[in-house]
């Protein structure tokens, strides 16, 4: 019995192991349709993943822009401070880089204390500035007053020269001209004769 069963096993194995059967052509058509459907689904999936990526990228960009905007908002005044500090530093640098003969001016000190020092500066500016510089600019600095005005002086000294025409105009009475005076004198003479 066991031998018979073993034979049956071998019989079927030997005969059916390398058997070949031709399926109907319809089978491939069905496979083809399923594969087509798969292709469409895979394309949809591709686009779905692309949509996800685009959405995430948009979300990230919006988040980043909000973050940057917030940082700018918070750091705005600080930036101004920093620019002011930079300017201060620049002015300090400029002061340090002043040419020889120039002294730093302390703006906090009273003006009287500065005057003496300024005299020295004025001389030095004249020395340093180039020759073709407009002389008028230097005049008020270089010109020393010839006479000082004091309360003790009895003489009437005009500080600025008055022109002759100006002197004439000071003597004339508004509304009265030389011609009018001459005609009025002539009239008076005529009346006196009469």
């Amino acid at each position: 019995m066991d031998k018979n069963l073993h034979d049956i096993e071998n019989l079927f194995r030997k005969e059916l192991e390398d058997n070949e059967e031709t399926p109907s052509s319809d089978t491939w058509n069905r496979i083809d349709k399923i594969l087509d459907r798969d292709k469409i689904i895979s394309i949809d999936k591709k686009y779905a993943s692309l949509k996800k990526i685009v959405f995430l990228l948009m979300f990230f960009l919006i988040g980043l822009s909000i973050y940057v905007w917030n940082i700018r908002q918070n750091n705005g005044p600080k930036k101004k401070d920093s620019t002011a500090l930079n300017n201060e530093a620049k002015t300090k640098d400029n002061e340090n880089n002043l040419p020889d003969g120039f002294n730093k001016i302390d703006l906090k000190k009273p003006v009287d204390t500065l005057s003496k020092k300024d005299d020295k500066n004025q001389n030095s500016i004249a020395d340093i500035l180039p020759a073709n510089t407009d002389e008028n600019i230097l005049k008020p600095l270089n010109k020393k007053p010839e006479k000082t005005i004091s309360s003790d002086t009895t003489e009437n000294i005009s500080i600025f020269p008055i022109s002759k025409s100006r002197k004439k105009s000071e003597k004339t009475i508004p509304g009265v001209t030389n011609h009018n005076i001459k005609s009025s004198i002539a009239k008076q003479g005529k009346n006196g004769k009469k």
Binding site: L11, L16, E17, E21, T22, P23, L35
Partner: protein
């Protein structure tokens, strides 16, 4: 002409890559190459041609979908065959609740003659019909044990039954086939005597 295994792999790599890329012509070529052998396998695991075609269709769809995972470690035919077998098992398990249990008691025991004589008298087609006419559970166990060379432990795990059930099912399947062969031989002998 001697062709080494490396050349064979290189030769098969290109069409397989085309199949992976979704080239329908390459896929149809692959199907035409392996479909007859795989259909024979599917026929053994199914009760009729229609069911076998369904298994073949599902199997090939799985092949094309998972071809990218083929590592060229073994033969492509063996890999495809494995997919077909597991597709048939999955198909069986999906329908297992619908299968009726057959009582083989009372079947006539038949003494076997020489294998060559049986093949000469019956033919491959009749032997295949005998396997197809087995109850689904017996057919599965018989196929997995005889043709795939699985052990009862593996069969039990695949089919979700106990090892003992697998052994008894195999025994019963062989008994049924033996009687079927005996009956067919009797009919064949009678026909030859009459003819």
């Amino acid at each position: 002409m001697y062709i080494n295994s490396y050349d064979l792999v290189e030769q098969t790599k290109e069409p397989i890559q085309s199949c992976i890329d979704g080239d329908r012509y390459s896929q149809s070529r692959l199907y035409e190459q392996y479909a007859p052998k795989m259909f024979a396998v599917c026929m053994r695991y199914s009760k009729n041609r229609e069911e076998a075609e369904d298994i073949l269709q599902d199997g090939f769809v799985k092949v094309f979908r998972s071809l990218h995972s083929f590592k060229f470690a073994g033969s492509l035919e063996g890999w495809i065959r494995k997919i077909m077998v597991y597709t048939a098992v999955a198909n069986y398990r999906a329908k297992s609740k619908m299968h009726a249990i057959i009582n083989i008691e009372g079947m006539e025991n038949v003494e076997m003659t020489n294998n060559e004589d049986i093949v000469a008298l019956l033919g491959k087609k009749e032997l295949l019909n005998m396997v197809q006419s087995l109850p689904p559970m017996y057919r599965m166990v018989f196929n997995l044990y005889v043709f795939e060379g699985l052990k009862h432990r593996e069969i039990a795990r695949e089919l979700g039954v106990s090892e003992g059930t697998s052994k008894s099912n195999l025994f019963d399947a062989k008994m049924i086939l033996q009687r079927a062969v005996g009956n067919s031989l009797k009919i064949a002998n009678q026909n030859s005597l009459n003819g």
